[in-house]
């Protein structure tokens, strides 16, 4: 656990965990008996209980919602699933068959894959490469940034992929360029990997190891000199971000004709120990913990993602998702809780905010539900969602949660208004 230093005059500096071990231990989680896929939206599409699926077979549960099956098996159940803010998901459970069969259609399609098919067939590869943005006529994407750094501290999954598979990343970048027609592709890596990556012959930019430098908007600001306007995304100014693992997956798919289905993730144990594991997409968390000998007790906390930006899960049946880069387990003794103590105006949040937001004013407005005022005059939309404000808050106010909630509510209002008109 990171604690405030004795000298509190300077603002705390939080660093990413940098992978230094050239050959870190890797635990491969055995094939689970059942995998679950989470697809956005509600609905079954053409998929039925009892359908047989091959590894790499395309399934679709709703219009524009695609996934490929990471295993060979039988659809056991299709049910609804609620996301963090209550968004609808469809959970497709597949009973895994003994013998794995690879889908021919997948190998046929990836031989010379079009953008159209990349959207469908690559949507849930490990690292979750999304091609939807390239199809959007309103976006003019001229640069793809491949992020070889992990988005949160204590995570090394992406760094591990860069370290161990830089050649695959290079060929993935070439495939990516062919699919999308974007020629400028840059790999962003920490200092320690820069030399190796440059030697492999890819465009490399070096990112600082201070959190949150590896967040897309910070990368654009620090390394590209571009500032994303408040409330917009990197895509709006022509930059598309993809994780290093996603690019490696694309390379695997294209070169072997078989769908890559193993997700690399960092498992952070209760004592802070980190191990890198690989698991089939869709593996229930409980299987991962069993294989790694981790005991999760009642009232412990299990987090998908890192300590600053992850999201806590409520069920041990939750599957590993294509973008789950870390699993954090916290002992119930070590869980810092939020409080309802008022803001004392100490200003720690303002000083640490990388987006230079007046967090103390913002938090007060959000506490009172003044979301529109917060967005108009107090830079709610400039927030890059790093979570540092809540981390340093002396009153333990859940500022980050207020911010996410406010953004979500404003989006909902905007959608409702658009529909009404």
């Amino acid at each position: 656990m990171i604690k405030k230093s004795f000298i509190g005059l300077v603002k705390p500096r939080i660093d990413y965990t940098i992978l230094t071990d050239p050959d870190p231990a890797l635990i491969d989680i055995p094939q689970p008996g059942r995998v679950t896929l989470l697809l956005e939206g509600n609905g079954n599409g053409e998929l039925k209980k009892g359908d047989l699926l091959k590894t790499g077979q395309l399934i679709s549960t709703a219009k524009d919602i695609f996934a490929i099956s990471p295993v060979t098996g039988t659809v056991e159940n299709i049910s609804g699933w609620a996301g963090d803010f209550g968004q609808g998901y469809t959970a497709v459970s597949i009973d895994v068959a003994k013998d794995e069969e690879f889908d021919e259609q997948f190998s046929e399609v990836v031989k010379n894959i079009s953008l159209e098919n990349a959207v469908k067939y690559f949507s849930n590869l490990p690292g979750k490469p999304s091609f939807k943005k390239f199809k959007d006529p309103e976006l003019d994407i001229h640069t793809i940034v491949v992020n070889g750094m992990d988005e949160d501290i204590w995570m090394t999954a992406n760094q591990y992929v860069v370290q161990s598979r830089v050649k695959a990343i290079k060929s993935g970048m070439e495939a990516l360029s062919k699919i999308t027609g974007v020629n400028s592709i840059v790999l962003v890596v920490p200092e320690s990997q820069a030399a190796a990556a440059a030697a492999a012959g890819v465009d490399v930019k070096v990112v600082s190891s201070q959190y949150p430098s590896a967040q897309p908007k910070m990368i654009l600001k620090d390394l590209f000199g571009k500032v994303v306007p408040a409330g917009r995304n990197p895509e709006n100014i022509g930059y598309c971000f993809m994780s290093a693992e996603a690019v490696a997956s694309i390379s695997d798919a294209v070169s072997t004709g078989k769908a890559p289905t193993k997700k690399v993730l960092t498992l952070i144990n209760k004592d802070g120990g980190m191990i890198i594991v690989t698991a089939k997409i869709g593996t229930p968390v409980s299987d991962v913990f069993k294989a790694c000998d981790i005991n999760v007790e009642e009232k412990d906390r299990v987090v998908y993602g890192g300590p600053f930006t992850g999201s806590a899960i409520y069920s041990m049946e939750h599957p590993i998702l294509p973008d789950t880069n870390a699993l954090l387990v916290q002992d119930r003794e070590n869980i810092p809780l939020v409080s309802d103590y008022p803001c004392v105006n100490c200003g720690e949040c303002v000083r640490i905010c990388p987006a230079i937001i007046q967090v103390h004013s913002l938090a007060r407005l959000l506490e009172a539900g003044q979301y529109e005022e917060a967005a108009d005059n107090y830079d709610l939309n400039s927030c890059i969602e790093c979570g540092l404000c809540s981390f340093v808050c002396v009153s333990k106010i859940p500022i980050f949660q207020y911010i996410r909630l406010a953004k979500y509510e404003l989006d909902r209002i905007r959608l409702a208004e658009a529909e009404y008109v």
Binding site: E298, P307, A312, G387, F400
Partner: protein, 320 residues
């Protein structure tokens, strides 16, 4: 499905650096102790009585406020009321009557803070607010020359700022800066021992519990303004060093102006806030009616703090 373990689910971030408000408050109390102990040494048991009554009555007022506001969790343990009581006592002469303290802490805790919604919501530093209410209402009780008349000090028993006001620079020529800094002067219980206050202040700055921007710019404001006055007319206006180590200057710079809730948080705002405070202090001392201007100046900058806070840096990606 229903027999599964229940996990704790909450929003990110899942870690915290561990700083807490009570921790902050207790450190501020700790940092104030050297000055208070020197006050005990100089003014004896009456000073102990004043401090004890002030701290305890402030805490009791807060308890009463908790009960009246039907708070489930009582906040008297967070050290906030204790600080108010302690700092209020530090401003007072050791011989102040008991009812004065009770009334003062009432104004500080109940009117200055709880009426606005409790800790974090007060627009003025509650201690300064209460001290000013009483100063304006019962000015004679703050006359240190009268209050401490029965004491037999080893040093000149005249309040330096009153001497300056009454006799001009010639009246304070006997004071050496070193003596004043070491606490050899009359004044409030915790306001005389300049060195102790500075040490406490530096400790708080290093630990990050108060901001150096405010303290330093407050002192700089005093120094520069006093120097200009002194330069213009050395016979009428005392030098900057004299102003730095007398009255409530140091207490104001390190413990009063830095109060979180009533001060701004942006770098430039803090500098302006402190500098204006120092400037006003000297203005009041040199050409105002009162001997010491620190309390007035701090209430004034508290009042202006929201305006100073409007000077803010541009957020990332802000379009306008």
């Amino acid at each position: 499905m229903y027999s599964q373990k229940k996990l704790i689910v909450s929003h990110a971030p899942f870690i915290h650096e561990g700083s807490r408000v009570p921790n902050r408050n207790y450190h501020i109390i700790l940092a104030a102790l050297p000055a208070v102990l020197m006050g005990f040494y100089h003014f004896g048991l009456p000073a102990v009585g004043v401090v004890a009554l002030s701290v305890s009555s402030a805490m009791l007022w807060e308890l009463l406020a908790n009960v009246l506001r039907k708070k489930e969790k009582h906040t008297i343990g967070d050290g906030n009321a204790a600080i108010i009581g302690l700092l209020f006592a530090m401003l007072l002469p050791a011989t102040i009557p008991w009812w004065f303290i009770i009334v003062g802490t009432f104004f500080a805790v109940m009117v200055g803070q709880q009426a606005f919604g409790g800790i974090g919501h007060n627009p003025f530093n509650p201690v300064v607010f209460a001290a000013l209410v009483l100063f304006v209402s019962y000015r004679n009780y703050f006359d240190f020359n009268v209050a401490l008349v029965n004491y037999d000090f080893e040093f000149a028993a005249i309040y330096p700022l009153t001497a300056l006001k009454t006799y001009g620079v010639s009246g304070v020529e006997g004071f050496s800066t070193m003596d004043l800094l070491m606490g050899n002067q009359t004044g409030g219980i915790g306001a005389t021992f300049g060195l102790g206050i500075i040490l406490g202040g530096i400790y708080l700055i290093i630990r990050g519990f108060i901001r150096w921007e405010i303290s330093l710019s407050f002192l700089a404001g005093i120094f520069i303004t006093a120097a200009i006055f002194n330069f213009a007319n050395p016979d009428q206006y005392a030098g900057p060093m004299f102003h730095l180590v007398t009255g409530y200057t140091l207490l104001g710079a390190f413990f009063l102006a830095t109060e979180d809730s009533s001060s701004p948080v942006n770098f430039n705002s803090m500098l302006i806030y402190g500098a204006v405070g120092g400037f006003m202090t000297i203005l009041i001392r040199n050409i105002g009616a009162y001997a010491d201007g620190v309390l007035f100046a701090i209430v004034l900058i508290n009042l202006l703090a929201p305006i100073f806070e409007k000077i803010r840096p541009k957020a990332l990606g802000k379009v306008d």
